[in-house]
């Protein structure tokens, strides 16, 4: 290690204490432990417990909490509905992820083009869905999807075509993906766009001077340079997709094609908040979390070097 000198030329000892990074991390770790680790731990503890009823089950002391071993996990893993839900989510994700991330990347690249017009208008318009409160989602999509009130269906009828039922058991995927793309493309676009803006412009100028088209600049230079941001959004979008809950819950009151357990997380919600059975919910969540962890770890291992290529490893 070379000795550093200060402006006057005196040697300066590096006094960066080893505790510095830990001190910086302390607030996050404390808050994380209290508000994430402890509740997760409690949920994990609950997943090994269950309710045992004595007698008729009415009256004081008739419900006690007992150790259940792996009973909740066996019930969760043996539940056909959970596996069917997982399959549905995988199908849903297979349609959603390429669509949403592809559009986010496309819009971000187009926004970064100096010659595009209406950039500010487009930027805020594409972000706006993120700002619409989810409380009116059922109302909103009810008005846009249900045939009697939908303007799209009205136009189809007026043009002489028959209505398209967007909420049959097959087409419901399209209806759901549409809601998710509409709501999510804005933020993902922003993340990629911010990363694009961090790239110094000289990098493209030489390519442009060499005669590369904008498309080649985008394909050869921009996309590889924003790869960390792309991977970031892909991983988090994938995790969010595995945990999809709000879009099917939004559409469920409007149609007969969705059950209350259509996705695994809906089953968790139903167990925890409708059946007031926190124990089964906890076990299902642990199973779901492990599955999500495996998927994301696998993906991250694949792209580890690309994700953090800009740090000294």
């Amino acid at each position: 290690m070379t000795t550093a000198v200060d402006r006057v030329g005196r040697p300066v000892r590096r006094t960066t204490s080893r505790a510095v990074p830990y001190a910086f991390l302390a607030p996050a770790i404390v808050l994380f432990t209290v508000f994430l680790l402890l509740p997760i731990g409690y949920a994990a503890y609950l997943s090994f417990r269950r309710v045992q009823v004595k007698g008729l089950g009415l009256g004081p002391g008739s419900r006690i909490e007992v150790f259940a071993g792996l009973a909740n996990y066996r019930a969760a893993l043996g539940d056909g509905e959970l596996w069917r839900g997982a399959l549905r989510v995988l199908g849903y994700g297979a349609i959603l992820l390429p669509t949403m991330l592809g559009l986010a990347l496309l819009f971000a690249l187009l926004l970064d083009l100096h010659r595009s017009r209406l950039r500010r208008f487009s930027r805020i318009s594409i972000f706006l869905p993120y700002a619409v409160p989810s409380v009116i989602a059922s109302l909103l999509w009810g008005f846009l999807y249900l045939p009697a009130v939908s303007p799209g269906q009205y136009l189809l009828r007026a043009a002489g075509f028959s209505e398209i039922d967007l909420m049959t058991s097959r087409t419901i995927y399209v209806a759901l993906v549409n809601i998710a793309v509409w709501g999510g493309v804005g933020f993902n676009m922003l993340v990629i766009y911010t990363a694009l803006r961090a790239i110094p412009h000289e990098l493209y100028e030489s390519a442009r001077l060499d005669g590369c088209s904008e498309f080649q600049v985008a394909w050869r230079i921009k996309i590889p340079l924003v790869m960390p941001a792309l991977i970031l959004t892909t991983v988090f979008s994938a995790i969010a997709t595995l945990q999809v809950f709000s879009e099917p819950t939004t559409l469920r009151p409007l149609t007969n094609s969705l059950s209350t357990t259509w996705t695994p997380l809906m089953k968790v919600y139903r167990d925890a908040f409708v059946r007031n059975d926190l124990y089964s919910a906890a076990a299902t969540t642990m199973v779901l979390a492990v599955f999500t962890l495996i998927v994301s770890l696998g993906f991250l291992r694949l792209v580890q070097s690309r994700a953090f290529g800009q740090e000294n490893q």
């Binding site: 000198v5 200060d6 960066t16 080893r18 510095v20 990074p21 910086f24 991390l25 607030p27 996050a28 808050l31 994380f32 209290v34 508000f35 994430l36 509740p39 997760i40 949920a43 819009f107 187009l110 083009l113 010659r115 595009s116 017009r117 209406l118 805020i124 318009s125 972000f127 706006l128 869905p129 409160p133 989810s134 409380v135 009116i136 109302l139 909103l140 008005f143 009130v149 939908s150 993340v191 911010t194 990363a195 803006r197 961090a198 790239i199 110094p200 000289e202 100028e205 960390p228 970031l232 988090f236 995790i239 809950f245 926190l278 919910a281 969540t285 979390a289 962890l293 800009q310 740090e311």
Partner: protein, 297 residues
């Protein structure tokens, strides 16, 4: 990462670069962006139009036919239960503003630590923090309530603020931005000058990370603004509700009571406006001036 010595600031060279670019409008990209914008605006247009209808018109007239009752609806909303909607709005601004700022700062300091320091346990700690996203908030809500009840904090503003500050996603974002935007040379230079680590963070790292942290702030602000489950579980005093929970109680009043559809739609429209204003205000932070001209590999 290779670094070069500090290059002259880019501002002087920018005008030349701009002059050499073709000045025409790129039609296709503009068109595609416009289509995307219209696709995203379509449902928002419904919210605007629906909030101009009177309650009787909402389910009677064509979905995109505007009404003339926007003023009446806003008045109805403002006078409902003594103006509680505006109290909800103030609450939401508090939760989202304070929570977003705290979260952005926390993400900044955490991302900086992970990106710019080597220390034992770095990878492990980061992975543990990230693993927080694996467990969805639905299962955490009730345990968090029970925990805060032990601390005596349920039904307070803290109950909604404290759990919202930790954002694994924000920390990941901040780490990436810190790694990309802050050159090690800058930090070394500051250290050599004798600055404290804290001063390095606030004077050197934070300004450079600002655009990334603005994104984190905006993300967390909107996430808290739209968050429903946490305040729903934690709060039992309807004067402390954020707008999401408040409007929910107007909409979901059971089968036996009519829902206040128009109030809810008007309330939703009004709550989009501050978010749009915030977004417009924060836009200028996304113009990035790099501090040094170092080339990133």
């Amino acid at each position: 990462m290779t670094t070069t010595a500090a290059a002259p600031p880019i501002e002087e060279t920018r005008p030349e670069i701009t002059r050499s670019r073709p000045q025409g409008i790129a039609v296709l990209p503009t068109l595609v962006l416009l289509l995307g914008a219209l696709y995203c605006l379509f449902p928002v247009a419904w919210v605007v139009i629906a909030s101009t209808k009177s309650p009787g018109e909402l389910f009677r007239t064509f979905t995109f036919a505007p009404g003339v009752s926007i003023f009446d609806n806003v008045v109805d909303l403002s006078t409902y239960q003594g103006g509680i909607y505006w109290r909800w709005t103030v609450n939401t601004a508090l939760y989202a503003g304070v929570g977003g700022l705290a979260s952005a700062f926390l993400s900044g300091i955490t991302g900086y630590a992970f990106a710019k320091f080597r220390f034992p346990g770095r990878a492990f700690l980061f992975n543990v923090l990230l693993a927080g996203v694996l467990v969805p908030s639905i299962i955490l809500a009730i345990p968090q309530y029970l925990l805060l009840a032990k601390m005596g904090l349920t039904n307070t503003y803290w109950a909604v603020l404290l759990p919202s500050i930790v954002s694994p996603y924000g920390m990941y974002l901040a780490r990436i931005y810190a790694a990309a935007a802050i050159p090690d040379s800058l930090i070394e230079a500051a250290r050599t000058d004798g600055a404290s680590e804290w001063r390095i963070f606030t004077a050197v790292a934070l300004p450079v990370m600002r655009p990334g942290l603005v994104t984190v702030f905006l993300f967390q602000f909107v996430a808290i603004w739209n968050n429903f489950l946490l305040p729903f579980i934690m709060l039992s005093d309807d004067r402390k509700f954020p707008v999401t929970v408040g409007l929910y109680t107007l909409l979901n009043r059971g089968n036996t009571v009519p829902a206040l559809y128009t109030l809810v739609i008007t309330g939703s429209l009004l709550s989009i406006i501050p978010l749009v204003a915030l977004f417009l205000t924060l836009q200028r932070y996304w113009r990035i001036d790099l501090v040094s001209g170092a080339v990133r590999a």
